[in-house]
């Protein structure tokens, strides 16, 4: 099979950053060191070589909403963003609450054959929060976790049952924390800017009361719960305290919760409309603190592509969500490493090793013998976000025109070069 060497890069490993070469053989990292020879050489001089990124929270919209995104366009966007594995949420049409839909997604993903697509099954039938979905059969079909993402499991008894039942199959529940009665049709973060713009606010409490509930359930049941896209200072504090007590809770956040604030809503541009909403400076600071001290386990995109017609309308009518796969690394690198002193190794763990460990999937590190899932980045490259160049069908980003540092130049999945730009390979 295909053998090649990636030379002269700086490799991000568990033990730190090493200047060395990688010998790739049969889809695996055969050796790490110096002096390998092969017919094919990739010169990574001046570049950083990271474990392939893993995004555990993506909406691929396929089946049912292919006009927003499909498995092919979503996969292309993912590998351009440096992702070798992405986990897709079940809020498709039909809802991915049964083995047949799981099978369809996995089949399409393998036909597309770019990154590995992991499937998250619905926790309850039709994401209605009323009856358990066929979690066991979906596990057989290949799901890696369960979630009703987009919809909270509002009924605490059902949530308890989901956590217990999914636990039997070794599956973690990913919880979208939102008390819909409290968010009450709100559009943006409730605070100064919502008052200024006259847009209906969503109180932070809508997220935090459900974070607290799920922590209490995890603690009571002694089971794992993973909190999706946390966005507030209060949520960070709740998770930090719970972890200190030994509760088996993990959580994720998204680049827009540390790279943007709700000041951006003032021009009524619906590209800023996302759920949970963009928050304030004090929340951004707390999220960054949580990423630094290990309270937050992963950076995910919550990639939510939408059609232009669903965004270029009145703010109240526009869809929630940000197309995030193609800006995630650069936003994270710029905001966390460049501006806030997080180490590159820590960022790598948040984007690769931690999600792999939480989902119990292979990947997430560079070591001899592991699958060759690799992302090569040029950290010295400054570039301007231009959503018209996105490979995703969703051009909806509030970061258009923003200057960012760090560009993905090559993505390798299972040893295959699935994306390459500005580097010989």
């Amino acid at each position: 099979m295909y053998t090649y060497v990636i030379k002269n890069g700086t490799v991000v490993t568990d033990k730190g950053l090493i200047e060395c070469d990688l010998l790739i053989e049969n889809g695996r990292i055969a050796k790490i060191g110096k002096g390998f020879t092969a017919d094919n050489i990739i010169d990574a001089s001046g570049k950083h070589i990271l474990p392939g990124f893993i995004d555990m929270h993506v909406h691929l919209r396929d089946p049912g909403y292919e006009y927003k995104e499909d498995i092919s366009s979503g996969s292309r966007a993912a590998v351009k963003g440096g992702f070798t594995q992405i986990a897709c949420m079940p809020n498709t049409k039909p809802i991915c609450d049964n083995a047949a839909v799981v099978g369809y997604i996995l089949k399409r993903a393998s036909e597309v054959g770019l990154c590995r697509v992991l499937v998250i099954g619905a926790a309850t039938k039709d994401e209605k929060g009323e009856e358990l979905a066929e979690i066991g059969k979906m596990k057989e079909a290949g799901i890696v976790a369960v979630s009703d993402d987009g919809q909270p499991v509002w009924d605490s008894r059902i949530m308890r049952l989901v956590i217990e039942y999914a636990g039997d199959f070794g599956l973690m529940v990913l919880s979208h924390c939102e008390d819909k009665k409290l968010s009450d049709g709100g559009l943006v973060n409730e605070g100064y800017h919502s008052s200024l713009a006259g847009l209906k606010g969503i109180t932070r409490a809508a997220e935090e009361v459900m974070v607290a509930r799920d922590i209490i359930l995890a603690e009571t049941l002694k089971q794992r719960v993973h909190i999706c896209h946390i966005s507030t200072k209060g949520s960070v504090n709740l998770v930090r305290e719970a972890k200190r007590r030994g509760v088996k809770v993990t959580c994720e956040t998204c680049p827009h919760y540390f790279g943007a604030t709700d000041e951006m809503i003032l021009n009524y541009d619906p590209s800023t409309k996302v759920n949970p909403p963009l928050r304030e400076d004090s929340d951004v600071e707390a999220i960054i603190e949580g990423l630094k001290d290990g309270t937050i386990d992963a950076i995910v995109t919550d990639h939510a592509p939408h059609h232009k017609d669903e965004k270029n309308i009145e703010y109240a009518l526009a869809a929630f969500g940000i197309s995030g796969l193609e800006t995630s690394f650069a936003l994270s690198y710029t905001k966390l490493v460049k501006e806030n002193g997080l180490s590159l190794l820590a960022l790598s763990k948040l984007m690769s090793a931690n999600p792999a460990a939480m989902l119990c999937v292979e990947g997430g590190s560079i070591a001899e013998g592991v699958k060759a899932d690799i992302t090569v980045c040029d950290l010295n490259k400054e570039w301007v976000v231009d959503s018209s160049k996105f490979l995703s069908k969703g051009k909806n980003t509030p970061f258009n025109g923003m200057k960012l540092w760090g560009e993905v130049v090559m993505t390798i999945a299972d040893g295959r070069i699935v994306y390459s730009e500005g580097i010989n390979g």
Binding site: E190, G191, Y192, S194, S195, L196, A197, G198, L199, K200, G201, N267, Y268, D309, N312, I313, E314, Y315, A316, L317
Partner: protein, 302 residues
């Protein structure tokens, strides 16, 4: 002036003063019975209303017609907003018909800004969601200015549903820019977040709000807010948050009584207060036509 009038948040003190000065002149002419001015000759003015309104729409229509414009009214059923033609498409259609000014009222905050971004015509916000209602605030300001001769040092008390009131917000932005103090009072369930940073001062009690006030403005309490649980009953609202003759004793003698209408008698203001000698509610209506004439004329002036 800018191309559009979307709100008073982005309008300077000087621009407000200019509008009020022209509006004062227009109001004098109206009082003299002059109802034919040439300012908008050859211009077309469209009122595009996605929310029911009689008062504001008629006021704009008369203002346009008094200045010789061609005025056309379009009423769009709120229920068809989501499924009908998009706002941008409607705007582009009106633009293609060579409309000079589009006056829009919409239940969703930011809709006028979206329209303005997509059309060549001047856009005037006639009230959007819970955002702004700049012409209402300007007519309130004209009424106050004519009575007191200015704004410096005046205390304007606004009582009612502040949270859902675009009138209160535009008044806060406008009045504070001209030096008045705006004091607000409502149940906490109807008070927006961080109102102080917007420029208003939240009173701790009804008495504190009314104490020594030069202007007392009531805002309409809608029954649907009761259904939404923001207060228990209209009568309880009136008892603890409304303004009657007894409460009004805290305000300055002859304090101006104002209300953007339509009034719920006996809820936010008692009938005795509404009909008092120092009530300016009808004068506000005339100011409304004058202010709208001034804005139309200033926006379309080359």
């Amino acid at each position: 002036m800018n191309k559009d009038l979307l709100g008073l948040r982005g309008v300077s003190k000087e621009e407000i003063e200019e509008i009020l000065s022209v509006a004062g002149h227009m109001k004098k002419l109206l009082k003299q019975g002059v109802k034919k001015l040439p300012n908008l000759q050859g211009k077309s003015v469209i009122t595009l209303f996605y929310e029911n309104s009689t008062r504001t729409r008629v006021s704009f229509e008369l203002a346009s017609k008094y200045m010789s414009a061609v005025a056309v009214n379009i009423n769009v059923q709120a229920s068809s907003v989501a499924k009908g033609e998009t706002l941008i498409d409607t705007g582009k259609t009106l633009d293609a018909m060579q409309s000079d000014v589009i006056i829009i009222r919409h239940s969703m905050s930011g809709a006028p800004a979206l329209l303005a971004k997509n059309v060549k015509a001047h856009v005037i916000n006639a009230g959007d969601g819970t955002n702004e209602h700049p012409t209402q605030a300007l007519l309130d300001m004209l009424t106050i200015e004519e009575h007191y001769g200015g704004f410096k040092g005046l205390k304007v008390a606004i009582l009612g549903d502040i949270k859902h009131s675009r009138v209160a917000k535009s008044n806060i932005f406008g009045l504070t820019k001209l030096g008045a103090e705006v004091v607000l009072y409502s149940p906490a369930t109807m008070m927006p977040e961080e109102i102080e940073r917007l420029g208003g001062r939240r009173a701790k009690s009804r008495e504190e709000a009314l104490h020594n006030a030069d202007v007392v403005m009531g805002l309409r309490i809608q029954l649907e807010r009761q259904q939404g649980g923001l207060f228990p009953t209209l009568s309880e609202y009136n008892k603890f948050f409304g303004v009657g003759e007894r409460e009004l004793e805290s305000a300055k003698i002859d304090a101006m009584i104002m209300h953007p209408g339509p009034v719920n008698r006996g809820v936010e203001l008692s009938s005795a207060v509404i009909d008092a000698d120092n009530s300016f509610i009808e004068d506000q209506v005339l100011s409304g036509v004058a202010v709208r004439m001034a804005i139309l004329s200033l926006l379309t002036k080359k």
